[in-house]
Amino acid sequence: MSEHIPLALEVSDLEMVYRVRGVDRPVLRGVSFSIERGRSYGLVGESGCGKSTAALAIVRYLPRNGRIAGGTVSVAGQDVLGFSARGLREYHALTVSMVYQNPGSALNPGMRVGAQLAEAFTILGVSRGEARDRARAALERVQIADPASVMGRYPHQLSGGMQQRVVIAMALAKDPTLLILDEPTTGLDATVEADVLDLVATLQSELHTAVLFISHNLGVISKMCDRVGVLYAGRLVEEGPVDTVLQDPRHPYTVGLLRCIPRGGVRKDHGRLDTIPGFLPSLGSRLEGCVFADRCALADDRCRCEEPPVTQAGAGHIARCFHQDLAPTLPREEAAELAVPAVNREQTPLIQLEDLGKVFVQSGHEVHALAGVSAAIWPGETLGLVGESGSGKTTLARTLLGIVAPTSGSVELEGRKLAPRFQKRAHADLRALQIVFQNPDSALNRRHSVSRILLRALKKLAGVTGADAEKHAAQLADRVRLSERTLTQKPVQLSGGLKQRVAIARAFAGDPKLVVCDEPTSALDVSVQAAILNLLVELQAERGVSYLFISHDLGVVRYISDRIAVLYLGRLMELGPSETVFDGPHHPYTEALLSAVPTIDGGGRRRIKLGGDIPSAASPPSGCVFHTRCPRALGAVCEETEPPLVEIAPGRLMRCHIPLDELRRLQAKEPESVSA
């Protein structure tokens, strides 16, 4: 980089406060970083650490109670904080673009895509006719296959991935100096996420735009960024080249964060996951020493009263820690080894799904959400359920619970056929099957205290009332490691992880035999996720409960599952023991899912691109339903004949025309990565 060209973004000593109830609360504490032109910088951290606030400060879209209390921000050499109203408008119009997490709310629902996109060009002073041509070109640039037809559609007629492409096309219309992406792929499926990330990487190298990438997902950051900054409680605690920081972290927080993530093929019988004990300091609290001292196993008296200075840890790698040499050896929390009992598959299965099918009728069309799914879950085992959104995971879980009645087939519990709908099921069957939802905010009644929630569940599911109930509620809370004080509190007073513990306690009130876990950790930060996964595994070891575990995070599924079922368009594509499904040879769909996951460990497998979106279940493709996107399709046979689900090895089922040995040979060519 030549020295006289100003940096794309330079933030120095940025201090930001939110004014809450008359008091200024600091949310950014002396944050400094910079991005060179054409480079990308990742900002990571858990929720509440100030990532999005930093982005808002850079574009100066501060909420009314937010104020920049010190420091400077300059973009392409211009002082952003000194702009007049007019200067700010020009800055927004010409220099900086921002892409948010939810593309659905970033697009105007009442305006056709073409017109919206053209508007982005007319603002720049382009004539209307030319704007339309440019809009079409922009859609081609973001790899939308049929721009003419997409331009005529409304945003809701596009899939999430397509919407995000349109938003990115709009953001790039002005050829910005700085593009800020705030969790741009968080709501998307792994396969779609991978496509969008590839697209951003391609465009960035073409356009030479500087990118500020905000994400909680270290895998995504590792794939997309040159440098990374780790934010904690509004303080940049570590910064450096992405590979160095992720492979040789020097701040205990970064070390802890990396250890929380289930990766490298770790499974529940290998032991518990690491967690970061404690909580983020509450917003704007005064911190004397190191911001992380309260949760750090290395912290000593000095850390608690003196702010560690920025120190070099290597070339371009800095960390704010007195003990950065010790950080990599951060003591692990004493993880008592956990004996996960082996699953006995000789006995009658706990749950037997027999040829389950579900057809929804949507405006006259039949939508086959599930087609002939047969699977068993044995006592004490976890069946992981994976697949893109729209693959039928949730419908399968809802059918099992009796929330929706199957159109064909049945659910058996311990060899007895269950009534299709839960209203008709016996009380004992209701308590045997419970669920932990994805979002604890929605799953817990916000007007009820924790003890009321648990007492009611105990009354209905375990038949415990009166004085006994209080004792049972306390035991239940203790079982999910909730302190007694939590009982008197309402959900709003609890953090996400604690709320999810309450939801788990409620599900376990009546000693269930099977708990459906519908993405129970996807709304949580990784350190909390690790603690929740540990809890689920402990409960399984203690009580022999079975789980049907739905998740899009393959690392999590791999950690917790004994067996894994892969769904595509409501059909089972593959079912088998966790290790073999992950180690291969894989069904081509599983292979693509695995390859789409960005890994922290770098390198890894070659990405297998799936063409387009998941087809509509209203008109599934002929033959093998996956043939339209399958990179390994054989030709006519795949298009015409639906392959049967056959047992290719003991306990391992696969639905593919390609013989197993052929799959093994094809997949062996690619470099194998150990991580999921």
């Binding site: 004990p277 929330i403 009380h427 979002n439 817990l444 007007r447 009820h448 509190q489 953090s495």
Partner: protein, 290 residues
């Protein structure tokens, strides 16, 4: 124990939210102005003897039909009564009937809203059409129809009528809130542990839709005052010699020229009360619907 999550310092956020609401309410100028006026009329209704300079009911205390003067600021009426005293004493009837009717309407409407919103399907369709039919008629016409059908009038009849007419209006708002709530997972969780519909409606959902219910009550109260006045005016309810505002207007609106003061001051009194209640209602709505 791997997970050492400890509860956060106990900050009672529900209480904090409630006191925050209260703080916003007492800081809003519209709420203060409206509140003062409402409290004034409530005081007059509770202790008419303390505020009226003369007896509001006895005939021929003064010369008849005097224009407003310093001695009789609102003038006197054809029966020789001081209109100022009558206006001050005239809030009682309205302030008894309107809140009771609104309360009845809100309770009925909330139940109706819970039932239609929770069950949806055929229950919702049938009740929904009945509600549509009721709403399609002007309020007063419906009221007259019911009074005629019942065949008698009086405080309780008026309360029942207004309550019944308001309940579908309230139910609309509550139903919309209930629809959003039933989508949430806690309702599904309750069903999956075998809870019955009444428990889910009243113990799980109702506490979460109290904000719209409170807002609905205050907004409807303004309408109720107006409706009570209208019904009294057309003759359903109290009549002269009661100092009720609408009863006064009923008696004197025919003589508005030249005896304008006999109608104007009671009418202004109704207006101040309706406006004041609406000011408070607006404030409450703003605070609750933030």
């Amino acid at each position: 124990m791997t997970a050492l999550e400890v509860a956060r310092p106990a900050r009672s956020e529900t209480k904090a939210a409630r006191s925050e609401r209260l703080r916003l309410l007492v800081r809003s100028p519209t709420v203060i102005i409206g509140g003062v006026i409402v409290l004034f009329w409530v005081f007059c209704a509770a202790f008419p003897g303390l505020v009226t300079p003369h007896d509001p009911i006895f005939d021929n205390q003064f010369p008849t039909s005097l224009k407003p003067t310093w001695a009789y600021p609102f003038g006197t009426d054809t029966n020789g009564r001081d209109i100022f005293s009558r206006v001050l004493a005239g809030s009682r009837n309205v302030l008894l009937i309107a809140p009771a009717a609104t309360l009845l309407g809100t309770v009925l409407g909330t139940i109706l809203g819970l039932v239609t919103g929770y069950f949806r399907g055929i229950v919702d369709d049938v009740l929904g059409r009945v509600i549509d039919a009721v709403l399609s008629l002007p309020l007063i016409i419906t009221a007259i129809l019911i009074v005629t059908a019942v065949g008698k009038t009086g405080t309780w009849v008026v309360i029942m009528i207004i309550g019944l007419i308001f309940s579908p209006l309230v139910s609309r708002t509550v139903r919309a809130a209930v629809l959003t709530e039933t989508e949430l997972d806690y309702v599904q969780a309750a069903r999956l542990r075998g809870e019955r519909a009444p428990y889910i409606m009243f113990s799980e959902i109702l506490p979460n839709v109290m904000s719209p219910v409170v807002v609905e009550f205050t907004v409807r109260l303004g309408y109720a005052i107006f409706t009570v006045a209208s019904l009294t005016f057309i003759g359903f309810g109290v009549a002269d010699p009661s100092p009720d505002w609408a009863a006064q207007i009923n008696k004197y609106y025919g003589f508005i020229d030249p005896y304008w003061w006999m109608t104007l001051f009671p009418a202004l009194a109704i207006a101040t009360l309706v406006v004041a209640v609406n000011l408070v209602a607006d404030g409450i709505r703003e605070v609750y619907e933030r």
